[in-house]
Amino acid sequence: MSIVLEDVVHRYPGSGQGVLGLSLQVAREELVSVIGASGCGKSTLLRLVAGLLPLQQGALAIDGQAMDRVPAWKRPVGMVFQSYALFRHLDVLDNVAYGLRMRQVDRARSRSRALAVLESVGMAEHAARRVDQLSGGQQQRVALARALAFGPSVLLLDEPLAALDAHLRARLCDEIRDAHRRSGAATLLVTHDQQEAMMLADRVAVMDRGRLVQVDTPRRLYERPATLEVARFVGHANLLPARVVGPGRVRCAFGDLLAPTQAHAPDTAVTLLVRPEAVQPDPPADAPNRLGGRLTRERFLGPTSRWDFAVPGPTPGHETVLLCEGPRYARHAISLEPERLLLLEAQPLPAGMGATASPPVASSPSPPPTLDTGGSA
């Protein structure tokens, strides 16, 4: 393993936030994305690995060597900062050559190596330009080239695409992936963009309040989230309080549904996770988990659409709105594919997170059922 973190802690004085006991291993040539809500400790984790913050507890090793007492400037770590942190008094070539010069590589060799790395990120023609004359995307490429130029065995990327527009982000994602493959470095990428994380990473680590909640491949993380927090954070999720009523059956606001209940005993309280794309529009009358209702909102997204579908229940006069996704809208009914439903541990679902049950269409003494759709619509 190239990076080994064992129960590391760095708690900021006062707030108590930071990294509060985290273990993670990243192999050479592996790219692990770290995602989580703001303030969960993602950037602190990178700074601990870079040596910019001290470990208060735990151990960190890079390439089998303990890093606890190794200062930042002696670690084999390259880092791309969110602000890029390019040196404005140096031109592009000297920025990229900086790490080599600091490692006593002579001027001619460092500039020639820097030029080769700039070439690999398509920036060689801008080598003589001042960094403040570059666009955001070009600055990002220069920052990446600079972090890779001296051949670090660990690459740290702190929200490297956050300042760029969506179109450029998608393009640079591929470039980051290519650069990572070429370098062979163990890479940790911090991002708040879950799509970016899943697109780039071999594994995704989800952090919550200073701790890792789940580390898994993007697909498993999406299809088998370990907790409600992960389900909420990764992709969009309809979360419904439910109870297992028998083998393969759960009861929720819509009544009884077919669902894979193997891991749960009867009469267990659970949370039912329904991904938007697990909803089939206007299914045949005999489709399992068929629910009648009405389309309440349409959002056209080009190749797909995202739409809200209100299902009546559990009491007369109430509706529960499900976020659905697919190329066509449902008009009268939907079905929830049983094998794509997932049961998670029961937890109180906080109110006001994403879309919730619609207001009552008729006055009713009972409150509407809670429905949580994680992520942003």
Partner: protein
């Protein structure tokens, strides 16, 4: 409109001084009459003015160098201790020129440096040191503001990940990043030093009198002579301010 009025208020006395410096006679009239360069000739012939001119230049430039040498590490240290104590120290430093008037400082210097133990009153180094004390807060504030604006911590953190130790971070990232504030700070320091009167008048010896101190004498003579001496002071300040600006490549 307000800017125009302000400019008139600022520039009118300077224009009148310039006019007066080449006017033959200026007594009980709105503007001087006649044109002459006689006053400048008399000024150039006056040995005390020539010496004061040279002293002022030397003091201003030495003050500029001394202030820069102190302000850079001071601002750097304050920036890196930007907690409550650092912020308080920076605020105190900024208030120092107002809180401690030059007159107070001058009397203090007379008391301390006229003793047998420290008999340096009237010496050129003491005059330069006094100007450094007066101008240090201005230069420090200029550099400190620049450091905050630059996001120096992030730049230094980045340099560290690229292999730069603390000294290399300072020499290759922090110092070059301060160049603009060093230029603006130097211009301010030179301008302040050239025009400084109160402190210099109290602690400078006869042979090290600065230009503003000698200038006061001119006002006891002809109006044209006083105007010419003041115009020379203005030119001197502009020239001295241009030297550090040129030296640092701004």
């Amino acid at each position: 409109m307000i800017v125009a009025l302000y400019l008139v208020y600022l520039l009118l006395p300077i224009a009148l001084l310039a006019l007066g410096s080449v006017g033959e006679v200026w007594t009980n009239t709105l503007l001087p009459t006649g044109v002459t360069l006689r006053w400048f000739g008399e000024l150039a012939a006056d040995a005390s003015f020539r010496r004061a001119f040279g002293t002022s230049l030397i003091v201003a430039l030495a003050t500029c160098v001394g202030t820069a040498l102190l302000a850079v590490p001071l601002a750097y240290a304050l920036h890196h201790r930007a907690g409550r104590a650092g912020a308080l120290a920076a605020r105190l430093l900024a208030a120092l020129p107002v809180a401690v008037p030059a007159l107070t400082l001058g009397f203090g210097y007379i008391l301390v440096f006229s003793s047998d133990a420290l008999p340096w009153l009237g010496s050129l180094p003491l005059l330069v040191a006094a100007h450094v004390v007066l101008t240090l807060p201005y230069m420090t504030q200029a550099v400190l503001a620049d450091l905050r604006h630059l996001g120096l911590r992030e730049l230094e953190a980045c340099a560290a990940t690229l292999g730069a130790g603390p000294w290399a971070q300072f020499a290759t990232v922090a110092l070059p990043s301060m160049r603009h504030s060093l230029v603006t700070g130097s211009v301010m320091v030179v301008a302040l030093s050239i025009g400084e009167f109160q402190l210099s008048n109290l602690i400078a010896s006869f042979s090290h009198r600065t230009y503003p101190v000698v200038l006061l004498q001119a006002f006891y003579g002809a109006t044209g002579y006083a105007c010419a001496a003041t115009v020379v002071l203005l030119v001197l300040a502009l020239l001295a301010a241009a030297v550090p600006a040129r030296g640092t490549g701004a």
